[in-house]
Subunit: 321 residues, 2 copies
Amino acid sequence: MANYHSLINEHFGALELPEEPKNLYQPIRYMISQRGKWIRPELCLQACALFGGNVKNAIYPAIAFELLHNFTLVHDDIMDKSDLRRGNPTIFKKWGINTAILTGDVLFAHAYQYLLEYKSIGINKMIYLFTSTIIRILEGQQMDMDFEKEMKIKIDQYLEMIRLKTAIMFASCLKTGAITANTNAENQEFIYQFGINIGMAFQIQDDLFDVYGNTETIGKTNGQDIASNKKTFLSVKALEIAKGEDLKTLKNYFSKTKFDFDEKFNAIKALYDKYNIRSLAETQIQKYYQDAYKNLEALKLPEERTTPLIDYVKQLMYRSF
Amino acid sequence: MANYHSLINEHFGALELPEEPKNLYQPIRYMISQRGKWIRPELCLQACALFGGNVKNAIYPAIAFELLHNFTLVHDDIMDKSDLRRGNPTIFKKWGINTAILTGDVLFAHAYQYLLEYKSIGINKMIYLFTSTIIRILEGQQMDMDFEKEMKIKIDQYLEMIRLKTAIMFASCLKTGAITANTNAENQEFIYQFGINIGMAFQIQDDLFDVYGNTETIGKTNGQDIASNKKTFLSVKALEIAKGEDLKTLKNYFSKTKFDFDEKFNAIKALYDKYNIRSLAETQIQKYYQDAYKNLEALKLPEERTTPLIDYVKQLMYRSF
């Protein structure tokens, strides 16, 4: 499978961060050393290659997006009181709230600094896109938190939330890669839409993993969304279509903050099964996936250009259950 | 006194912020509605006028710096567990940690968005400066936190901390104003140094106010730095020169987190008085103030250009005790 992980790895290894103050940069080094899936920088580099650009030119914006993503994770972990991330203690858990706040902030600032290392035409457009992307992500995060206590979320509200919180970042990474390849505005728009669709599919897939995923493959324990009453495609859909006693049971479990985890997880999973929620989610994923393909076809690029991106997305989507 | 508060007020009044999500933008409106001293935007506009620029062109960067400053305040208030800011409950106190984290983050992002509204030559230089400024502020904030538990801080370390945390922002605001007026690089450097000196003087003045300030004029209660064991020019200097029992007393009080406030405040103030700390601080302020004047003189500008800035700085420095 062709991907750019070695190029990304090389640049993360050589990331120029100050030594001092130690208490600020040590947590950042800790965060970065744990790597991640590197989906966002990969999408940026893939889009550059797709439009015939030199991927080495796209590496700074690619790294910038990954730093930005890490900033959101560090702050999300405080808000969600998460103990573990990528199998290790979170910065919040290891160093406390204050360090985690400041670490996130400085990652945010360094993301801009990395982006500014890109010195070619298109830098201004890129900075605009980068800035509006982060604003949308934060708005999505607020909606996500607001939804936790809300039982009457419509599926469209949920989809808007994940569009802001996840899909727009995917789309912006791809569009940024396209800008580095200096392709035209129409192509930039198609690849942006492709990113939105892939991002939506990815997030719903992630929602499915929380209940049906193989713990070892996905690298985290099942049921975290259920435990924290997060709204997912599954819970919103189930709350939408369940009736009578079933609806009451769901609402009851989703408003509890103290509970026996296995009991709660199994009860909710049983209702998901009863209402075929998994299959509804899979249908929705397929729809987004197919729309993404149409966006890609519209570019009318030769197969040797589109194949690497399609392969990468397939790998991303079919992480095994 | 000529200042640009009405222009700043007009722009803050018309600040374009989304309505939704309410829980994200309501705290931001709350924060902004309380105004502030607006020192940073004022310095930006003053520098633009100093070099003969059209101040209306500098308004977007000016507002951007104030938003950036507000971002740092919102996050600092979480870290310092501050209940009050500008006489009102802090966002942290009113809405909790999670909202305060996200509010700060989105202020940070909107600061960039405002900066990007400046569309003339120099925007790239401005974004670089803006980014490196925020990194320095965050590094300074980390040093400030690190120093709280440390009794052997040298005065030079303290001065470096306030240079990062306060002075560089002053300098960058002024330099940004100079960029909008399209003055040469040498002038930009002089006004930057002027800003460093003014910023250093301002911070030491602020340290003095904590102990000797008139509560009504400075808008906050005395002794907050003392209560939270913050390192200030006064405490670092006192710990540096006090001997024997006095040093032991200082160290003892500065390591306490539980104490009778009046007892602690009075004991420390008595030692500051004994060692003439106030006069040492005032001498240091005068030194920075005079250096700042030299920077300004080096510009060789006509008096009618420099007078408004000098008047503004005088007003800033001689806030009454």
